[in-house]
Symmetry: C2
Subunit: 369 residues, 2 copies
DNA sequence: CTGTTAGCGCATTCAA
DNA sequence: TTGAATGCGCTAACAG
């Protein structure tokens, strides 16, 4: 295609390219008459300014990078949608990158995004990053951390109140009379999961319950994944030294094989919840009769299971929005406040059973079927 | 940040910018000695060629556009992941765009992508597009249609065998003895859904069953959506003139209120399946005792419901991959064959009940729990 | 109120 | 085997 450029428009309208540029960007006054002629020519020739040429000239590309773990994870898709809507609303484009929790891929994407001269970056870091992220931060690329913190990076973090959510979930189980509460989690290099384990422990401690390490089970958090890409993934424990079973499904077997099996389970993300349900189904364990279940993150399907699932709901879409809004401020050098964690909410449905009579709960609860 | 450019590298290595360019792109022979010096300088200065400047010079941006309905729809997220993996594998970036089935948004995105000088486009068209898509095709932007056809566009279409999938699903229900089979669908401007209705009708006709228009119900296919963005969406029936209830949940009420209620239901996409389950639950209708259910598109949660869901499974990730591979061929002017629809598969689980004794099925079935 | 012109960072033709 | 010079399409001084 023979792309029409600013020169063509200028010639057609009988003005200079500068004038064309100025009427298009409204960057200085142009008389009504010439302005009209220019716009006519634009229309006639179907002219679209090349964002890339403009980018070269202005050093601003109007595109930002979004690095997440996996767009296939419903949590991240909701977040991504929030990010994207917000940016498009402001004329920015978003380039998506999936790391699958692999620091090497994270690094490679950072390189690519940097080469693409992105105006800013939103990243849910793997947690074991190379120095490149730090170097980018030092190169003054505006960065917002999403959902997770990363060692050595001072960028603002937009997150959810993970610890409190886990605390509420665990405490709820305790108040229902549960004493042996298992927790299914993943890599603790992911700060989000680490915080959730902390909240769990805190609730136990406050209730005077022992923290039994046998009840803390770790699985590869990428349990649900398209099989095609799964085969390409390196095992996560080759990255860290944490002991880990390859899937939630398998990790759960450990818990269920325990001589003194837990009566309740706190599952720290939605992917692992599906693995848990699968494992329970295979063992013909009923929920909540045999085991109670609370999981982190709500979803469309959560209320439709039998029993409907009690969850800690987090504002996913808003999380993405907030991160995007903050990044926009950073880019335009506006003042900003360091973000506070977004509130989460325990949504009580049917997947937890009461073991003993307990006094009225002091937690902030929502009952909803 | 003071970006280091090709000039800096050239100076540092004591060569011309042309030489630097050539060693980086391996586009002409350079002596081992100078080559080494250049690479050293690159390393030392941490040089990254600006893709955008390169884009200006070569008229190739190494980025492609992906326009879909909604990344929040699990079908599209799997497809998008397939597209993205394939492109990244080849050094291309992907820009995502969500239209929410709104032709106006589709048009706006086309404009933006065009201005960004994308090397190619993959699009699941809304079906009621403006002329811009056609103009882009005429401007020789390589285009691949994804999952849906669009009137007036001659670009190759990568799709799934929708009609056959719907045919198999319906025929399966018929063989189980069902005679009144409802279908829940959406906009028929979306070719995919239109094909599924066709498959449904064909199965009925072949079996000598009447086609009862009262059993064909249409809903806004965007049923599940983040509420924030939902409020901004214009009603779809303002776009087309089809009668439509605003959600699967409500559409289903119509069917259930029928004097002669259907004994089975074919739901034409996964979003509407959730709405259906919700409606059935509210009415305390049990599946499959009161009503049998087959839906199009499989998901992680489908086998975990009670009862587990019988579905038509389609290769979502592969669909995206195929589209990407085809587009890469178009971009590099390689020869290509017009794609054939990808096969789908009826996965039988527990959500359909047998009404009568029937002879052995002649369909290609997979039984799986 | 508008035009001229020098870059932005790179690829590439022509020369050497 | 390598350099110099031009242009990609646009913005932004600077000049008028």
């Amino acid at each position: 295609m023979a792309r029409v450029n600013i020169r063509d428009v200028a010639d057609r309208a009988g003005v200079s390219t500068a004038t064309v540029s100025h009427v298009i960007n409204q960057t200085r006054f142009v008389s009504e008459e010439t302005r009209r002629r220019v716009l006519e020519a634009v229309e006639l020739l179907n002219y679209h300014p090349s964002t890339i040429a403009r980018g070269l000239a202005t050093k601003s590309t109007q595109t930002i990078g979004l690095i997440i773990s996996d767009i296939t994870n419903p949590f991240f898709t909701a977040v991504a949608r929030g990010v994207e809507d917000e940016f498009n609303h402001h004329g920015y484009h978003t380039i998506f990158c999936n790391t699958d929790e692999d620091p090497a891929r994270e690094d490679e994407y950072l390189r690519l995004l940097f080469a693409h001269q992105i105006d800013g970056l939103i990243i849910a870091p793997t947690g074991t990053h190379s120095g490149r992220l730090i170097r980018m931060a030092e190169a003054e690329v505006p960065i917002v951390l999403l959902d997770r913190s990363a060692p050595g990076i001072t960028a603002p973090l937009v997150e959810v109140d993970n610890k409190n959510g886990a605390y509420q979930a665990t405490r709820y189980l305790i108040e229902l009379g549960h004493r042996r509460i298992g927790i299914l989690t993943g890599l603790e290099t992911i700060s989000t999961l680490a915080m959730r384990v902390e909240g769990y422990k805190q609730a136990l401690q406050e209730a005077g319950l022992p923290i039994d390490e046998a009840l803390i089970v770790r699985a590869d958090p990428r349990f649900h994944k398209n099989q095609l890409s799964l085969t390409e993934l390196p095992p996560l424990d080759s990255i860290t030294n944490l002991q880990m079973t390859p899937s939630a499904f398998l990790a759960l077997q450990k818990l269920l094989d325990l001589p003194d099996r837990p009566t309740a389970l706190f599952v720290t993300n939605n992917q692992m919840t599906l693995g848990t349900l699968q494992a329970m189904r295979q063992r013909k364990l009923r929920c909540p009769e045999n085991i109670s279940l609370v999981s982190f993150d709500d979803h469309d399907w959560a209320p439709l299971f039998v029993p409907s699932l009690t969850v800690v709901r987090q504002p996913t879409y808003e999380l993405g929005q907030c991160a995007a809004k903050l990044l926009l401020k950073l880019i335009s050098h506006q003042p900003f406040e360091t973000p506070v964690p977004l509130p989460v909410q325990l949504v009580i449905r049917e997947s937890c059973r009461q073991l003993l009579n307990v006094k009225h709960s002091s937690l902030n609860l929502t009952v909803e079927m």
